[in-house]
């Protein structure tokens, strides 16, 4: 046992500060490892920073170790290292798990101490690391050290620029500064008494000059979008905005030239541009954040496999594999292409391919699908496809095509109706005053300005921006604004079983002991299973890690598909599947225990004598019942690729009546497509390759951060953690965002009708218009905040 200066005195893990029983210092072995590294290197300042910044630490129990062979390959050097003029190289990495100031400090500190590093800079909001290094820098060992500290290194596909967002910020800042100054300059005009004065013309002239950069530079995006809409024969909300802005500018210039100083709208126009840009900026930030998160999730280290080139094994990337190549897949790795097994036998997990929860055993010559995970020893397969034309890639294409047919382009009806109404009203005002052409122009332009849908255009962006922010805080990443529009219509929720409703891996549900030496046996089992990748081995490690007594094992022997045996303290310990044990006496000894037909059993023998029986089952997630209760007003069903037995058992436990088992990916895709075509609005929650098609065609596809890369790429919504309660939360948020949009639109329509009426009658002065316009915008923002956020925590 290790001894530290500190011990757990307040019930919190020494590393990640999660709740941990007082008799243990760490919540998991991952935290213990990282804590040791930090102590050894003397980087304990990390914990001081951690206390100050107080963000959620990444859960190291979810941390998957990755191999970084790729960082030594020629492909990496060519594609990801950029040589600078001074001979150094820059590269960009994504760092998964960087969540707080302490992480930034630790990562930069660790890297700056390495040989060959000139500069290391972490960007918290983008989850990126920018490195400037010379030829002596060892990329692989640096990545491995970060991995050991609990951060997964991934390759960033681009140089980390966010140019568009940055330009938006420039437009926003300039319009804001100018609008405020213009308001200041217009103030003397509002108070009146300056109309005939030279000062009046001076102030009017200054605001006119200041308005030029606003209309020519800051407001450009509106004109561009309005024009693009017109070219596609679509009336977008940007059109009345553009017309309003241009009319305000033209009318004001005309008024200034004719010395009618009480009808200048330069400042209102600039304020409007400023408010509109704020709305769009926040909304775009929400989308960008979600996209960045998901881009980071799907970014992976390209897989390196060993290929036989006739003489020896050489390293190639998965993309370089050709059909007919003999490749070797190490234990625990993903099979990158379809192929045929060349090793004697293999244990594979098809969890991500078909949703099947139990590992399968294949003999030489049988097919191995891409996406299978090798659970046994390293195996050799003969590739029969390329990386890109494996089944999973074809399914992805199919789903993409289907999706584009099913989902209509974003509706623009409200914008069109509003635009047409405003244009017709303005035209009517113009025509009724035709006898006095100048007055006709002015009344038409005034209507265009006053009816300019400032609040209307703000309603949806602010509601969405608030929803995006709220969702992001909860750990829900929504990848498009359109998903928010579709989500409130959902009436059916379809779950995948393995990994979504259940933990995705077997957990120990019952132990039956025949030996009194429980403590010793637990230690022996941990020792035997320590280095195995098999799900059962992991389940044993999770179950016994705390209580086991460390011990060592010799003569360890693994029989794929059957079990493992070895010698511990002179005793011969065998862990075996019941079907691999032929001794009837042993079966008889265990027969007194009631066992579940859907569970996986493991028998333990000590020196040939029955010692214990363990039962494993993929259990429903603990939060599943409460999540399903929140979805009780929806039709909930399960489509699973797993065998009927386990599916029925899980659905029965959770009280789900509609379920279908043994569905292959195409079955799932068809079932969902049929529902969508018959007018149902379906949310699909899945995480495997087999769910990809269904996720793509569903109204809303939801997956979680630990899901297969392909599923994440297909999904509209990605949950930061596989917590089912986030699904009803997301649906509730989307309904609130919709309600906030409607309220905002109602309010601004109401405002528009009143002001257009008053303007028509000439009852409204410029001072009131200037006060009312930002006021209505602010009230729309307030509504969005109140409705979307409101008592959200309480409601959830």
């Amino acid at each position: 046992m290790h001894h530290y200066h500190q011990t757990n005195t307040d019930g919190l893990c020494l590393h990640c500060a999660r709740e941990t029983p007082l008799d243990r210092n760490f919540c998991c072995s991952g935290c213990e490892t990282v804590f040791q590294i930090i102590q050894q290197r003397g980087w304990t300042d990390y914990y001081r920073l951690q206390k100050i910044s107080r963000t959620d630490m990444p859960d190291l129990r979810e941390h998957k170790r990755v191999t970084y062979d790729f960082l030594e390959s020629e492909t990496y050097r060519k594609q990801h290292l950029h040589e600078q003029a001074d001979g150094t190289f820059t590269c960009h990495w994504f760092i998964d798990g960087m969540t707080c100031a302490a992480c930034v400090w630790l990562i930069e500190k660790g890297l700056k101490q390495r040989i060959g590093v000139h500069e290391a800079r972490a960007f918290l909001d983008r989850g990126e690391l920018s490195l400037s290094v010379d030829a002596r820098f060892d990329h692989r060992s640096a990545a491995e050290e970060l991995d050991a500290l609990g951060y997964q290194v991934k390759l960033s596909p681009h140089q980390g620029d966010n140019g568009t967002q940055s330009t938006e910020l420039l437009r926003l800042g300039i319009s804001g500064a100018l609008a405020a100054n213009m308001m200041l300059m217009t103030m003397p005009l509002y108070t009146g008494g300056l109309e005939s004065d030279a000062f009046g013309v001076l102030f009017g002239g200054i605001t006119a000059v200041l308005s030029i950069p606003v209309i020519l530079y800051a407001a450009r995006p509106f004109f561009v979008k309005a024009w693009a809409g017109l070219r596609n024969r679509r009336l977008s909300l940007d059109l009345p905005i553009s017309i309003g802005l241009v009319s305000a500018e033209c009318l004001s210039i005309h008024q200034l030239l004719t010395r009618q100083l009480h009808h200048l709208y330069f400042d209102s126009m600039a304020m409007l541009v400023f408010f509109l840009l704020i709305g769009r900026f926040i909304q775009q930030r929400g989308v960008n954040q979600a996209l960045r998160h998901t881009r980071q999730l799907v970014a992976t280290m390209p897989q390196i496999v060993q290929r036989w080139d006739g003489v020896s094994w050489s390293s190639v990337t998965a993309q370089q594999i050709e059909p007919g190549d003999l490749i070797r897949i190490e234990s625990g790795n993903l099979v990158p292409v379809d192929g045929q097994l060349r090793s004697d036998d293999a244990v594979l997990s098809l969890h991500v391919v078909s949703g099947e929860s139990e590992p399968i055993h294949q003999r030489e010559g049988s097919p191995v699908p891409a996406g299978a995970i090798n659970l046994g020893c390293s195996l050799e397969i003969c590739a029969s496809s390329r990386f890109s034309d494996s089944d999973s890639e074809r399914l992805r294409d199919l789903a993409n095509r289907l999706k584009s047919q099913v989902i209509p382009a974003s509706e623009q009806t409200l914008a069109s109706v509003f635009t047409t109404t405003v244009l017709i009203t303005a035209l009517a005002a113009f025509l009724t005053h035709l006898d006095h052409i100048e007055f006709a122009f002015r009344s038409a332009l005034t209507i265009l300005i006053v009816a300019c849908p400032c609040a209307l255009a703000l309603a949806r962006p602010t509601a969405l921006a608030t929803a995006f922010r709220q969702a992001s805080n909860l750990g829900i990443w929504v990848r498009s604004t359109d998903a928010w529009r579709r989500a409130p219509m959902i009436s059916r929720v379809i779950f995948d079983k393995t990994g979504v409703l259940t933990e995705g891996c077997p957990g120990l549900i019952r132990s039956h002991w025949l030996t009194p030496r429980e403590h010793w046996l637990k230690g022996a089992i941990i020792a035997l299973e320590r280095d195995l990748n098999h799900p059962i081995a992991q389940a044993f490690r999770t179950a016994f890690a705390v209580s086991a007594e460390p011990t060592s094992v010799t003569e360890i022997r693994v029989t794929p598909g059957q079990g493992v045996q070895g010698r511990v303290d002179g005793h011969h310990v065998v862990l075996t599947a019941p079907h691999a044990c032929t001794d009837q006496a042993i079966h008889a000894a265990f027969s007194e225990f009631p066992t579940s037909p859907t569970a996986t059993q493991v028998l333990v023998l000590i020196d040939g004598q029955p010692a214990a029986l363990f039962e494993f089952e993929d259990r429903p997630r603990p939060e599943a019942p409460s999540a399903l209760a929140d979805l009780s007003h929806m039709e909930v069903s399960v489509l699973s690729g797993d065998r009927p037995g386990p599916v029925q058992s899980v659905c029965h436990q959770l009280g789900i009546e509609r379920f279908q088992a043994a569905m292959n990916p195409t079955d799932k895709l068809q079932a969902v497509t049929e529902l969508v075509h018959t007018g149902h609005q379906v949310a699909v929650i899945g995480d495997g390759l087999n769910d990809m098609g269904a996720l793509g065609t569903a109204t809303i596809g939801v997956t979680h951060a630990q899901a297969t890369e392909a599923a994440i790429q297909m999904a509209d919504v990605v949950l930061a953690r596989p917590d089912l309660r986030l699904i009803p939360l997301f649906l509730e948020l989307s309904r609130r965002a919709q309600r906030a949009t409607k309220q905002g639109i109602t309010l601004s329509l109401f405002y528009n009708v009143i002001t257009v009426f008053l303007a028509w009658q000439g009852l409204i002065g410029p001072l009131w218009a200037a006060i009312l316009m930002p006021l209505s915008s602010l009230s729309v923002i307030a509504i969005a905040n109140y409705t979307v956020k409101g008592d959200f925590r309480w409601a959830s």
């Binding site: 920073l49 960007f123 918290l124 909001d125 010379d134 420039l170 800042g173 500064a177 200041l184 200054i206």
Partner: protein, 55 residues
């Protein structure tokens, strides 16, 4: 009212300076990362120079 002859240009110059400063900061990539620098202030020790790269 005569004071305005002086005040108005002063206001405009101040406004111009602040907008120019904003554009400069923007060009200088100071708005590229809005979160991390706020935390960097917590790092107590001065950023030490890396000794091991060639001069």
């Amino acid at each position: 009212m005569g004071i305005l002859i002086m005040l108005v240009p002063v206001t405009l110059i101040l406004a111009a300076i602040s907008v120019a400063a904003y554009i400069w900061a923007h060009r200088n990539h100071q708005f590229d990362d809005l979160d991390t620098p706020a935390y960097r202030i917590l790092f107590e020790e001065p950023e030490e120079r890396n000794e091991n790269h060639e001069s």
